[in-house]
Symmetry: C2
Subunit: 316 residues, 2 copies
């Protein structure tokens, strides 16, 4: 039997056929049609799934479930996309529309960050864990919780907004309207903000040289690369980032005593240059001596497909 895993993004619908060993044995990537709405999206998912099954020499009777993740909020029953701004889905009853295409085959719907944590649980950094936290550091800070060995949807079914726990109450402005959220300190956007400030303050820095002093040329990779090359201004930004990320991770450890915290997203590509000082910082702030580990997330681009494909298993 196969599970279909579908990761809907603003540009493409990435789909995969996942076998019992959790390998992605077939893939499809079909442009997302923003004007097509839920109806057309459901059709594309159905067509893509049939194409993958056919290439695999299998039929619809070999399909166990269809799991779909979206970059947005899902209602507590897992039926409706409340808001997915990139997809222009608002109160979109997506599950029912996909279900209509697939008849009796069970369809599951979840948030993509929650799905990413589920992918780590079944195939990645969280295998064997019952309590774990995934932070995905990108434009914002997303993430998901594993509690009791399952993906946690939130107590009221709203999901988890890890990026919007407060880290420096009253501090930097966050996009959500609060001041001092984890996202305002630990996202790639936060690194860029601080690197631009540092570059403007230190015109003799490598940060300035690499961007020719243009704020719009700054990105998180440039900032981290400058730090790696020993630029003092960039190192200050980087140390500050590590200190805040360390506080965010230690908060989860002190609060949930989790077995593992994984860090994913573009910033985590910095590798041991990030993880080595991060682990020291977290250890110093952990209340428990024998605290959980801090590791890179491993699922990368397949997190969506695998996480979506595992949604049925999460319900068992």
């Amino acid at each position: 039997m196969y599970q279909a895993g579908v990761d809907i993004g603003g540009t493409n619908i990435a789909m995969g056929l996942v076998d019992e060993a959790l390998d992605v044995v077939q893939r499809e990537s079909i442009p997302f049609e923003i004007k097509g709405g839920g109806e057309r999206t459901a059709e594309i998912i159905h067509e893509g799934t049939l194409a993958m099954l056919k290439r695999q020499g299998a039929g619809i009777s070999d399909l166990d479930s269809v799991g779909v993740v979206v970059p947005g909020s899902i209602d507590p029953t897992g039926s409706t996309v409340i808001n997915a701004y990139n997809l222009n889905f608002h109160n979109e009853p997506l599950k029912a529309k996909i279900q209509k295409q697939f008849g009796d085959i069970p369809v599951f719907l979840a948030n993509d960050a929650d799905g990413a944590a589920l992918a780590e649980l079944h195939k990645g950094a969280f295998v064997g864990c019952r309590t774990a936290v995934l932070f995905t550091l990108g434009t914002g800070v997303g993430g998901g919780l594993i509690l009791g060995g399952r993906m946690f949807h939130g107590g009221l079914g709203n999901g988890c907004e890890l990026g919007h726990a407060l880290l420096v109450s009253g501090g930097e402005q966050c996009t959500c309207g609060n001041k001092g959220c984890i996202e305002a300190y630990c996202s790639a956007t936060a690194i860029i903000r601080d690197a631009i400030r540092a570059m403007e303050k230190h015109p003799d820095s490598l940060l300035f040289e690499r961007t020719m002093g243009r704020p719009e040329s700054m990105d998180a990779k440039t900032a981290i690369d400058c730090a790696r090359e020993g630029d003092r201004a960039a190192l200050e930004v980087f140390h500050n980032f590590v200190d805040h990320l360390g506080s965010a991770v230690a908060s989860m450890i002190n609060l949930l005593d989790c077995e593992r915290v994984a860090i994913g997203g573009g910033v985590s590509a910095a590798g041991e240059f990030l993880f080595e000082p991060l682990r020291k910082n977290v250890h110093a702030k952990s209340f428990f001596e024998n605290h959980g580990s801090v590791v890179p997330a491993v699922m990368g681009n397949d997190a969506g497909i695998i996480g979506a494909a595992m949604l049925r298993r999460n319900e068992e």
Copy 2:
């Protein structure tokens, strides 16, 4: 059948016999003998329980379980008190010693803050909840988590240190060694610290008048009373406290999407003077419009006895 609930404190061992309606039908309070260690403590618990059963016209065969909570850390198997400083228990195999006294009757051991959350779950503010957070504001900030409708011991069995999640990373010094923990902003101790600072800065304040300018005369109740009477210096301290407590509560709501957050401990006696602005503050910072509620904890002094008595039920 009855459950014995035992709350070991540095001064007294408070015990109760709890019936099936969760009423405390008999009580005992016996001085804690710090020199007696675990052995003597176990004897006292046994003697006290027999005395309560006798007064109730019942016998040992009517006793279903013995639950014990202590102000300290418990090992993941619930057998050993790792550290309970007030009791001078260190790596004390308390469960086995109590078990020896009670023979076949099951004995359970837990941290008192976790037990308080369990008491709220079975009889108090969390009845019917599956996801809830208790903050107990006192000298420190304790608390407990209800996840999946049960008391949560932490993912690695170390428990939850809610007071030591970071709230203002890099901020006020905390007793744990970190800077900016929830405890450093939301405890009675934090109110006292800030009220003393305000009093020293404003010798014309009611805060100064009430304490005659003596730091050692300041307590949280005085500070809150002064705020209630409109003293500007005290109000600033109080608003700052509400803002930080609001951030701590909103963090739990954004992170866990919990159904309810309860606030207990001495400070919560401030009632609606605290809860009304706190709810507004939390609502403004909550990511989800339909977020969980913020309520006073209700179990008060019985939290220990009832929580301990419910430990068996928590395992079912």
